[in-house]
């Protein structure tokens, strides 16, 4: 494994959350991490819960331990987190591979950053995420039944 250059973590945990001068993209980054951690926490519990079905125990079925409003709300939150994390993650993958950030240009004042070039992509994926969020909320409120 290649040695990584180490820097002092001056901001500590607050460095994870602060947007600083980077604005909306940095907050999307922080939210991406928060939703990722939330989904991971749910996923680890989901593995254990769904394991019980091998013994014929369906903990999420009617009148079982997970058939309670608090868990339904938790499921909705996971769906909302998934909608954001998935769509924003797709944007990050595209940007990582050089899509939607424009061609390299001479750094001539006033500088144009790739952040501004990829902004339309950001807006589009957030609109799609919002549509999914509405769909999840619609289902949660029982309107799909």
């Amino acid at each position: 494994m290649a040695d990584l250059k180490r820097y002092d973590n001056r901001l500590g945990i607050w460095g994870w959350l602060g947007g600083g001068r980077w604005g909306i993209d940095r907050y999307a980054y922080a939210l991406h991490r928060l939703t990722g951690l939330g989904i991971l926490a749910y996923f680890l519990m989901h593995i254990v819960v769904t394991t019980f079905r091998a013994k014929g125990i369906y903990l999420w079925d009617k009148h079982q331990i997970l058939d309670q409003p608090i868990f339904r709300i938790g499921e909705l939150l996971v769906f909302l987190a998934f909608a954001f994390h998935a769509l924003n993650g797709l944007r990050l993958v595209l940007v990582e591979f050089g899509f939607a950030v424009g061609r390299p240009i001479e750094p001539i004042y006033p500088y144009k950053t790739s952040l501004n070039v990829q902004r339309p992509l950001f807006v589009v994926v957030m609109i799609v995420a919002a549509v999914l969020v509405c769909g999840g909320g619609w289902e949660f409120l029982g309107l799909s039944h």
Binding site: W16, L44, R53, D61, G89
Partner: protein, 128 residues
């Protein structure tokens, strides 16, 4: 494996999860509407009868195990990346990595066993 390769696999895993978990969400959350992989639409997509119908298909069992492995890698590698930003001592980073690998392998084993056992139970119940 170098960090660049691990990171690239993390991205690839993310795209795979986007597709498979997207299908999972379409089935579990709005399966009443889509009818996707829902054997009995008179009850919820998550009802035991529908769950068992999916478990009885070998393709689903394999898909569950594949998604389990990919999602565990993506999630635990992501968690490791976040924690390593705290600039921990190198020894602590190694312990953390080893711990996450053990947790990942443990949960993968548990989930794989559950998928195989559930498949067997679903087949037995279906025949019975």
């Amino acid at each position: 494996m170098g960090e660049t390769k691990l990171w690239t696999w993390h991205l690839i895993a993310g795209v795979v999860i986007l597709v498979l978990l997207g299908l999972h969400m379409l089935t579990m959350h709005i399966g009443e509407l889509t009818g996707l992989f829902v054997a009995n639409r008179a009850v919820a997509p998550t009802a035991p009868i529908n769950s068992m119908a999916r478990d009885s298909q070998i393709g689903f069992s394999i898909g569950y195990v594949f998604l389990l492995g990919v999602a565990l890698y993506h999630g635990l590698y992501g968690l490791r990346n976040i924690l390593l930003e705290l600039t921990l001592p190198e020894a602590a980073e190694k312990v953390l990595t080893a711990l996450l690998v053990v947790i990942g392998l443990g949960l993968f084993s548990l989930g794989t066993w559950a998928a195989i056992a559930s498949h067997a139970v679903a087949l037995t119940t279906g025949r019975g």
